[in-house]
């Protein structure tokens, strides 16, 4: 009961704080815009994870969304709404094509395919120089626009990503608590039992995967028009593992897990962004989580409350050791 009352309050407060960020200045706008991009990425990995599929190549779909949207806008003047949608749809289509055979593999075999895939996409982006400019990077990407109005200022672009995040999270949340979400969860928990109740496992895994690809494409498209410079190594294997780490460190047991993980880790890793220390930081965060908080950060309040409760409960009866 407590939960039901507090969840909307927490959401409203969080959103209110998020809207105030532009007051802090350009640096923080930049940092928080990337935090929100990471939230979309982390949350969009969740459907697949719920089905029990370890996808370590999610940044490939972000990459597809980013380049598609950037190239359409740059060379053909396609408005942002359309280029974003095209990027997301292309990511979805590629996701379906790759996922159809790959999702028949289980566990680590599926994970290996996704690792291979993210590297293939990165290499294609690096080698296909006439289209992507390869490792010299793609520059001159137009700023995002909405309904014909260019969002020229950083704060307006920031509000754009906040809006995209809210819409993304709303859709993913509704999906999670619908029959679809329940079915995905059942596949992750016991796929043979789900199958025995008539669930078409392969089709549902593919659907969950494709939904994730779509929103990764959305995140990529925003990223492209926000940073306005695309560089293939930014979409490599390490970025994909970060997205996975957000989910594990935040916690996989609840919808807010990946959101908490993305905010927490993106902000803490900010001083190391782009340096070798970033990888070390994420590795340590992952290790600490596995060792001390297997359920992720979201289980921390419960654990602390349990600790206090446990002390209070054990106080009247002295323990044998004491």
């Amino acid at each position: 009961m407590l939960r039901r009352a507090t969840t909307p309050t927490v959401l409203v407060v969080a959103l209110g704080l998020a809207l105030l960020v532009p007051l802090l200045g350009d640096y923080y706008i930049h940092v928080f815009a990337l935090v929100f991009t990471n939230i979309i990425l982390a949350a969009s990995l969740r459907p697949s994870l719920t089905c029990g599929q370890l996808n370590i190549g999610h940044s490939a779909f972000m990459c597809l969304g980013a380049y598609t949207s950037a190239l359409l806008a740059k060379h053909y003047g396609v408005p942002f709404e359309l280029s974003l949608l095209s990027g997301a749809l292309l990511a979805t289509v590629v996701g379906l094509v790759v996922g159809y055979p790959a999702l028949r593999l289980r566990g680590v075999y599926f994970a290996m395919v996704t690792v291979a895939f993210v590297e293939v996409i990165r290499l294609v982006a690096a080698i296909w120089v006439p289209l992507t400019r390869g490792n010299s990077g793609l520059s001159g990407i137009p700023k995002p626009n909405l309904l014909g109005v260019t969002l020229a200022t950083k704060p307006s672009q920031y509000y754009l990503v906040v809006g995209l995040t809210v819409v993304t999270l709303f859709i993913l949340w509704r999906l999670e608590r619908s029959r679809l979400g329940l079915t995905w969860k059942s596949i992750g928990l016991a796929d043979n039992l789900a199958q025995s109740l008539g669930v078409n496992i392969a089709a549902h895994k593919l659907l969950a995967f494709a939904v994730g690809c779509f929103f990764a494409g959305v995140a990529g498209a925003f990223y492209a028009h926000f940073i306005r410079f695309l560089f293939p190594p930014e979409f490599g294997f390490l970025v994909a593992t970060n997205i996975l780490v957000y989910n594990f460190v935040g916690g996989r047991g609840h919808f807010v897990g990946p959101i908490v993980g993305a905010v927490f880790l993106s902000l803490l890793s900010e001083p190391f962004r782009g340096s070798a220390y970033e990888t070390i930081f994420f590795s340590i965060a992952m290790l600490l989580t596995i060792l001390f908080l297997p359920g992720g950060i979201i289980t921390l309040p419960g654990k602390l409350a349990g600790l206090r409760w446990g002390r209070a409960a054990s106080a009247p009866t002295p323990s044998p050791a004491g």
Binding site: R174, R177, R179, L182, N192, L193, S196, L197, V199, I201
Partner: protein, 255 residues
């Protein structure tokens, strides 16, 4: 026309025949028991019937149609639903959610429902879920996490989930394993009620008291082959069956 009919059904694992040339017949409205010593091929047989394993040879006909080698979720759609020996339910979900998953096939969720409705599930599906739970005697536990139920209730929930899928033929894999007398009696009464409401039942069980008291016909498997078949009384008298269970010497000593 029999509801279920297998002809020369065979499954070999690297040369070992787990099920070998099995002819099995189940008529509509029966409760049939499938028994046999450990390793006789009972569970393999269930896996074949429900499409979890492809047979090496032989055919399976269900309600007059050949379903040999079809994928399991398609077989469920035809009305042949199974339960499992070990994984009977989704521990991390509530009791009601478990049954709602059983309703999977008959749900008609829409895009609008997913995105804009207050309720994540249509009202009539929730009602149907509660109905099934009431029928199984789990009504008061609907909102509890399934893992909090005592063992006996958990196994009943497993049956309720399968029931929600509206089977014509229900395959129960050891429904009373690990239960006390009281619990197993309740489950077996439930099984009879399910049959009386029109669902045919084929069950595997080691608890002989439960099998003999509930089933009208019993098929005995040994080393993947049909050893005997008949009413509980006939099977109980059959020397070959006693030999298979107790060993040849005991049987001769008794004879």
């Amino acid at each position: 026309m029999p509801l279920l009919e297998t002809r020369r059904l065979t499954k070999r694992f690297d040369g070992l025949a787990a099920v070998n040339g099995l002819d099995l017949l189940v008529e509509e409205g029966e409760i049939v028991g499938l028994i046999g010593p450990n390793g006789a091929g009972k569970t393999t047989c269930f896996n074949l019937l429900s499409g979890f394993l492809p047979p090496t040879a032989g055919t399976i006909r269900f309600a007059g149609e050949d379903i040999t080698g079809q994928r399991s979720h398609r077989i469920v759609r035809r009305g042949l639903v199974r339960t499992f020996q070990l994984t009977t339910l989704f521990q991390e979900m509530t009791v009601l959610e478990n049954v709602l998953l059983g309703l999977h096939l008959h749900s008609r969720g829409s895009f609008r429902q997913v995105l804009f409705s207050q309720q994540p599930f249509p009202r009539d599906e929730i009602d149907r879920g509660h109905e099934v739970l009431e029928f199984a005697g789990l009504g008061p536990h609907a909102t509890q996490p399934a893992k909090n139920l005592p063992h006996g209730h958990q196994r009943i929930l497993g049956i309720a989930m399968a029931l929600a899928a509206r089977p014509r033929l229900l395959l129960l894999d050891e429904p009373v394993t690990g239960m006390n007398l009281d619990e197993s009696g309740r489950v077996m009464a439930l099984v009879k009620t399910i049959r009386d409401q029109g669902t045919t039942i084929l069950l595997v069980e080691h608890n002989m008291k439960a099998v003999m008291g509930t089933c009208e016909r019993i098929v005995v498997l040994n080393f993947g082959e049909k050893l005997a078949e008949g009413t509980p009384a006939e099977v109980g008298r059959n020397t070959k069956v006693i030999e298979a269970y107790l060993g040849a010497e005991v049987a001769h000593a008794r004879g």
